[in-house]
C-alpha cells in the first residue's frame, strides 16, 4: 500500500470543507466590518488571530496544561471503560444487573456533578480526572460491550466446537472482533475528554484553557474567548486524529481487518 493514493484521497476529501470554512470566515470578516459590530460582542477573525498571536505565550502555557489534563483523563477514563466492559462481558450475571443502571446513569448530567466533586476532593488533579473519567468512560464501555456482544455467531461456534475455553474465545475472537467498535467509542471519548477537561477547569483551576476563558469572560475579552474556543476545537480534532491513527496501526487490512500481533491479546 503506497502513501500516494491515500494522500490523494485525503486531499480530495479535505478540500470541500476547507473551502467552506474559508468562505465562512470571509463572510464573518466582511459582515463585522460592514455592519461595524463592536469587538466585545463579536470580534472579526482577523482581530481574533491578531490577539491570539499577541498572547501566544500565555495561551500556549494554558493549552499545554489542558492537554496534559485531557490526556491523563482520557487514558484513565478509557481504561476504566474498557475494564468495566470486559468484566461485565465475562460475567453475564453482573452485566444483566449493572448494564441497565449504567444506561440510566447517563441521565445524570456528569457536568452537574463537577461542583460536588470539587467539594469532596478539593481543587487538585483528582476531581478533574474524575470528571473526565465520567464523561469518557461511558462511550468506551458501551461500544466495547456492543462489539463483544456482536461477535460473529459462526466464528463463535467454530471456536467452541474446536474446544476453545472462555479465555481463548475472548482473547482470540471476541476482543479482536470488537476492536473497530471499541475505536469508534474511543474517538467519541477523545472529544468528550477535551470538553470534560475544560469544564473541570471552569469550576476550579489556576491554569488551563478553561480557567483562561473564565478569566477573560470577567474582562469581557471576547476576542480572547474566541481564541480559546479555537484552541479547544483544534485539541479535540488532534485527539480524534490521534485515535484514528492508532486505529490504523492496530487494525490493518480489509474489514478494517487487523493483524494478529496487534489484534489479539497474547
Amino acid at each position: 500500500m503506497s502513501l500516494r493514493p491515500t494522500l490523494n484521497q485525503w486531499f480530495r476529501f479535505a478540500w470541500p470543507p476547507f473551502v467552506a470554512v474559508l468562505f465562512f470566515l470571509t463572510a464573518w470578516e466582511a459582515a463585522v466590518r460592514f455592519f461595524g459590530v463592536e469587538a466585545w460582542i463579536l470580534p472579526s477573525p482577523s482581530v481574533i488571530a491578531g490577539e491570539a498571536s499577541k498572547s501566544a505565550e500565555s495561551l500556549w502555557m494554558h493549552t499545554l496544561s489542558t492537554l496534559q489534563l485531557t490526556l491523563i483523563g482520557f487514558a484513565i477514563g478509557s481504561s476504566v471503560g474498557l475494564l468495566v466492559a470486559c468484566v461485565l462481558h465475562l460475567v453475564p450475571l453482573l452485566k444483566s444487573a449493572l448494564y441497565p443502571l449504567l444506561i440510566l446513569s447517563q441521565n445524570v448530567p456528569t457536568i452537574a456533578l463537577a461542583p460536588l466533586l470539587m467539594i469532596w476532593f478539593g481543587f487538585g488533579l483528582l476531581p478533574k480526572i474524575i470528571v473526565i473519567t465520567l464523561v469518557c468512560f461511558f462511550p468506551v464501555a458501551v461500544s466495547a460491550m456492543d462489539g463483544f456482544a456482536q461477535t460473529d455467531r459462526t466464528m463463535l461456534n467454530y471456536m467452541r466446537m474446536i474446544g476453545a475455553n472462555r479465555v481463548q474465545i475472548f482473547r482470540k475472537l471476541e476482543f479482536p472482533h470488537a476492536l473497530p467498535s471499541l475505536f469508534s467509542g474511543l474517538r467519541i471519548a477523545a472529544t468528550y475528554s477535551v470538553m470534560g477537561a475544560v469544564i473541570a477547569e471552569w469550576i476550579g483551576a489556576q491554569k488551563g484553557i478553561g480557567y483562561y476563558m473564565i478569566l477573560q469572560k470577567s474582562a469581557f475579552r471576547t476576542d480572547r474567548i474566541f481564541a480559546a474556543i479555537v484552541i479547544i476545537v483544534v485539541l479535540s480534532l488532534l485527539l480524534f486524529l490521534l485515535v484514528t491513527l492508532v486505529e490504523r496501526l492496530v487494525i490493518r487490512g480489509g474489514r478494517r481487518s487487523g493483524n494478529t500481533e496487534g489484534g489479539e491479546l497474547r
Binding site: Y158, R160, I162, A164, P176, G253, G254, R255
Partner: protein, 287 residues
C-alpha cells in the same frame, strides 16, 4: 504424509470400495433427539437420528433445508446437548463435550484479522500445540490447496473458493480424527463447486480421514461418499442409508454411468417428496 499412509494401510483399503463395515466405527449416533423452542411449545428438530461413520469412511448427509443438519453437527461438536440418545466417538460417549472434532462451518468463518496461515493453524493453537510444529504441515497443505503465495494474505483478499479451501485446510489440519463439513460448497458458483469437488475427492482419497459431510447436492454426495444417509424433514430421522458402489479412486466420469444416474434418480425422487412434505407441513403450521 506418512501419517495418512499409515492410516491407509491400517484401514486396509486400496482401490476396492463400498463396504466399510470391516473398519472400526469412528462415530456413532444412536437415537438422537433434540428440540428447540419453549417447554410449552417445543419445536422438535431431530427426531431419533442414528448413524455411523467408520474409520476412514466418507459419509454424506442429505436432507431438506431446515431438517436439522447443522443442528446435528452442533450436537456432535458439543455445542448442544441432546435430550435423548448418545453420541459415541471411538466408542466413548461424548454428549456435550467439545473439542473432539475438526469442523468446517457453513460459512468459511475465517478470522479477518488473521493471515491465512494463522487462520489455518487456529485449531492447533487452541489445543496448545506450538505453532512451529504445525507450520510446515500447514504450508504443505496450503500449497496443495492452491493457496501458495497467500500465506500472509488476509481472508478478504481471497476469492470465495479460496476462502473455502482455506477453511477446509483448517479443518483438515485439526488434530482430531473426525472431520465434520457443513455444506462447504453451498456458497460457490456451479463451476467453482465442481472444481472444488474434484479437489476434495483427490485430497480425501489421499488422506482417508473419517468425514461427515452435509450437502444438498445429490451428485456431490454420490461423487464423494462411501455412504449416504438421507434425512427426512423436521423432525428429522434417517429415511434411507445408501452405500455408494463406485470404486476408488474415483473420477468425475462416473457421473455419466447408468448406475450413477439410477442412484441419482432414486435420491432425487426421495428428496423431492420430502421437500414437498416439509413445505406442506410448514404451511399447515402457519395456518
Amino acid at each position: 504424509m506418512s501419517k495418512s499412509e499409515k492410516e491407509n494401510r491400517r484401514i486396509g483399503r486400496g482401490a476396492e470400495a463400498g463396504s466399510e463395515s470391516d473398519a472400526p466405527i469412528k462415530l456413532e449416533l444412536s437415537g438422537l433427539h433434540k428440540s428447540f423452542g419453549s417447554k410449552r411449545k417445543p419445536l422438535p428438530v431431530i427426531g431419533g437420528v442414528s448413524l455411523q461413520v467408520h474409520e476412514g469412511e466418507f459419509v454424506s448427509l442429505i436432507g431438506p433445508s431446515g431438517s436439522g443438519k447443522s443442528t446435528l453437527f452442533h450436537l456432535i461438536g458439543g455445542l448442544l446437548q441432546p435430550e435423548q440418545g448418545e453420541i459415541r466417538l471411538d466408542g466413548r460417549v461424548i454428549n456435550g463435550e467439545r473439542g473432539h472434532i475438526g469442523y468446517m462451518p457453513q460459512q468459511p468463518a475465517l478470522f479477518p484479522w488473521r493471515t491465512i496461515e494463522d487462520n489455518v493453524v487456529l485449531d492447533h493453537e487452541v489445543n496448545g500445540i506450538p505453532r512451529r510444529e504445525t507450520l510446515d504441515e500447514a504450508r504443505r497443505w496450503m500449497e496443495r490447496a492452491g493457496l501458495a503465495g497467500f500465506e500472509q494474505a488476509y481472508p478478504h483478499m481471497l476469492s470465495g473458493g479460496m476462502q473455502q479451501r482455506a477453511a477446509f485446510v483448517r479443518a483438515l489440519l485439526s488434530p482430531h480424527g473426525l472431520m465434520c463439513l457443513d455444506e462447504p460448497f453451498s456458497a460457490l458458483d456451479a463451476f467453482t463447486r465442481s472444481e472444488m469437488q474434484t479437489w476434495l475427492l483427490d485430497i480425501w482419497e489421499e488422506t482417508r480421514r473419517s468425514v461427515l459431510f452435509v450437502t444438498h447436492h445429490i451428485e456431490e454426495a454420490l461423487l464423494l461418499s462411501d455412504t449416504i444417509y438421507v434425512l427426512s424433514g423436521r423432525p428429522s430421522a434417517v429415511l434411507r442409508r445408501i452405500e455408494v458402489p463406485f470404486p476408488r479412486p474415483r473420477r468425475e466420469e462416473i457421473a455419466e454411468s447408468p448406475e450413477f444416474l439410477a442412484l441419482r434418480r432414486e435420491l432425487t425422487g426421495l428428496m423431492k417428496e420430502e421437500q414437498r412434505k416439509t413445505r406442506s407441513s410448514d404451511i399447515s403450521g402457519i395456518l
